[in-house]
């Protein structure tokens, strides 16, 4: 087990290294010159040259990368070119917003998606199955930015039930502890704050949850069907087990193994979706920060954000793999 973990952490380092290479070199072939960007168009050539020297931009790119790597290993990604904060600090401020959104969406997707898949999978080709599967097919085909807008239009605009964007009502904030509004509100213990934070989270979470929900439902259904035709299920029935228990113990349990993998894979989807969701609902999350930084060539933030996201990504995959081991004894003991 320890060996396995060590190996996986090794892989993690490797992936992070790869991502740092990709991000660093793409950012440095960007058209446009950082020094000009910082000093403005009117800077003299001498000023520019001195700044470039100061930033190490006059060095060969491999040397630059080496220094970059050295700094990164010390947790220093440089300063944001826009906010003048440490790049990593900007990333860490934005991250809880995205984390809260992604967790809420994932929770919705799993809590609704798995049962929907079970219901459909135990009645293949029935009316309910057809209805649910049509609905999930609509779900996976939905452009997330359009869905977000439509939900906003309906619940925010026409019905006016929910806010049309932002994290919290202006001027109202729980003291920042985790950076996640719902949790901070819970800590503050003020019911009004909790209520508002949930109201603001609802639409973005539903928007972001739709596609993963539909995918989880579909994969659960198809795995239930696949497992349901296996020999050991016939054995269970031959033992005289009631159908309900056959489904729960011998079909669902085995079907969950691939479902968990898919849930793990949803993370990439969630983070991609978060970029668009945050744009639509004006949330100051990591996705939006990345887009803005890319658009304004704020490469320290892009680098910090990319590496941070890759780190989270690999970490989650590790957790998924460990869960896999818990569910499947064939992997656990080999």
């Amino acid at each position: 087990m320890t060996r396995y973990l060590v190996g996986r952490i090794g892989q993690l380092v490797l992936v992070l290294f790869g991502v740092s290479v990709i991000v660093f070199f793409t950012m440095h072939v960007l058209p446009g010159d950082v020094a000009t960007l910082l000093l403005g168009e009117r800077a003299t050539l001498a000023q520019l040259a001195s700044l470039r020297h100061q930033l190490g931009l006059d060095q060969p790119i491999f040397i630059q990368y080496f220094y970059f790597l050295l700094q990164v290993l010390q947790g220093d990604f440089g300063m944001s070119l826009r906010s003048n904060h440490a790049a990593l600090a900007d990333v860490l401020v934005a991250f809880p917003v995205t984390l809260q959104l992604a967790l809420a969406a994932l929770a919705l997707a799993v809590v609704i998606g798995v049962p929907v898949g079970i219901i459909a999978g135990t009645r293949p080709s029935g009316l309910l199955d057809n209805l649910l599967m049509t609905a999930t097919l609509f779900g996976v085909s939905m452009p997330i930015f359009w869905l977000g807008l439509m939900l906003l239009l309906l619940f925010g605009g026409l019905l006016g039930w929910l806010p049309i964007g932002g994290l919290m009502p202006t001027g109202l904030d729980a003291p920042r502890v985790t950076g996640m509004t719902v949790i901070d509100s819970l800590i503050s213990g003020r019911p009004h704050l909790i209520w508002e934070s949930l109201r603001y989270l609802t639409l973005p979470a539903v928007t972001l949850a739709t596609i993963p929900l539909a995918m989880i439902a579909r994969i659960t259904r198809s795995e239930m069907l696949a497992m349901g035709s296996l020999d050991h299920v016939r054995t269970a029935r031959a033992k005289g087990m009631p159908e309900r228990r056959v489904i729960l113990r011998h079909i669902l349990r085995n079907a969950l193994i691939p479902v968990v993998t898919v849930i793990g894979l949803q993370l990439g989807l969630l983070l991609s979706g978060a970029v668009l969701t945050e744009t639509i609902f004006s949330l100051p999350g990591l996705g939006r920060l990345m887009v803005d930084s890319i658009l304004s060539r704020d490469y320290p933030v892009v680098q910090a954000g990319a590496l941070f996201i890759a780190f989270v990504f690999v970490l989650v995959n590790l957790v998924v793999d460990l869960t896999y081991g818990l569910l499947d004894p064939r992997i656990r003991r080999s």
């Binding site: 060996r3 396995y4 060590v6 190996g7 080999s334």
Partner: protein, 323 residues
């Protein structure tokens, strides 16, 4: 008669998954096997699962690379000839596989399958010549030439096996390695294919390595039989001698376990005790001793040599005398 194929001290280890940085102990699929096959001779390889018989067959055909040992075909050592230079050998030695469903490319017509060798080795030029030869091959194995443009899924298991045989015959091979070639077939079809193989072998003077777990089929088709256990030859002898006067306790047990369609026949059954040892950690000395009714303490110390116990009959047991 000189040997067409000579295999010496052939070894195959497969790596096992250990931990991340260190491989596990190697799985010894084949652990030092030597034998020869003469032109026109059928050598049967018998063994249960885990005996290494299929790996052995694959190595002889150079579909698996041996870990150690030597394969000499018609006087030429082919053990380390690179794949790209094996063309000549490939035209002289051919496999026949077990699974009639997996051994034919589902996307090719029967003609394409049978004629692939003709195309690769340029044995026939032009569409018509190729088609004629393919038709001839189909007829050789008892199929109708009118079926050339059909796909494999349109045939039954037995017919597919015939197509597989036709494909092997396309290069006019001298050696056939048939790996469980009739095991997956229904009883009534099995006999047809056995007859076909035996007929082709005799008519064309083929040498054949016939691999099977079914002793009765092997005895019927083979001139000599080698009994394998955990990647080693326990006994090798003329087919009749193996069945009538086995000299190795394992052969004896194997023979006694074969169910015979003859309810009146009262016979002594030797039930083997225990489990097949792991091929990653075989027992010391004689690998069969852990399940052998005749084992003595010496069996754990000495690796028995394959010694001649009667003319042409060799067994690897230090206690052959007791049988």
């Amino acid at each position: 008669m000189t040997a067409l194929l000579e295999v010496a001290e052939l070894v195959k280890h497969f790596p096992t998954k250990g931990s991340l940085f260190r491989a596990g102990p190697p799985l010894q699929a084949v652990a030092g096997v030597s034998f020869t096959v003469k032109r026109g001779e059928v050598l049967g390889l018998v063994g249960e699962s885990g005996s290494g018989k299929s790996t052995l067959g694959n190595m002889v055909l150079r579909l698996d690379q041996p870990t150690a040992g030597r394969i000499v075909f018609d006087g030429q050592d082919i053990t380390h000839v690179p794949d790209s230079a094996l063309g000549a050998f490939r035209r002289r030695a051919q496999p026949i596989f077990q699974d009639p469903y997996g051994s034919l490319d589902p996307r090719m017509t029967v003609e394409q399958i049978v004629a692939e060798a003709l195309v690769i080795h340029r044995l026939a030029q032009g569409r018509k010549a190729i088609r004629d030869q393919a038709a001839g091959l189909l007829e050789l194995v008892g199929l109708n030439a009118s079926q050339l443009s059909r796909y494999p899924h349109q045939f039954s298991g037995g017919q597919r096996q015939r197509i597989g045989i036709a494909r092997a015959m396309a290069v006019k091979p001298e050696l056939i390695v048939a790996d469980e070639a009739v095991s997956a077939l229904d009883v009534s079809i099995q006999a047809q294919i056995v007859n076909l193989l035996r007929d082709l072998q005799r008519r064309l003077g083929l040498a054949m390595i016939f691999i099977s777990h079914d002793l009765a089929v092997v005895e019927y088709i083979a001139d000599r039989v080698a009994v394998l256990y955990l990647g080693r030859i326990m006994e090798i002898a003329p087919a009749r001698a193996i069945v009538r006067t086995p000299k190795h306790p394992y052969t004896e047990a194997l023979l006694s376990a074969v169910p015979e369609p003859d309810p009146g026949r009262g016979r002594k059954r030797i039930v083997l005790q225990g489990e097949l040892p792991s091929p990653t950690a075989p027992p010391s000395g004689c690998v069969f001793r852990t399940r052998c009714a005749y084992a003595i303490s010496d069996c754990a110390k000495v690796v028995p040599e394959l010694l001649e116990v009667a003319p042409g009959h060799r067994a690897a047991c230090i206690r052959t005398g007791i049988l």
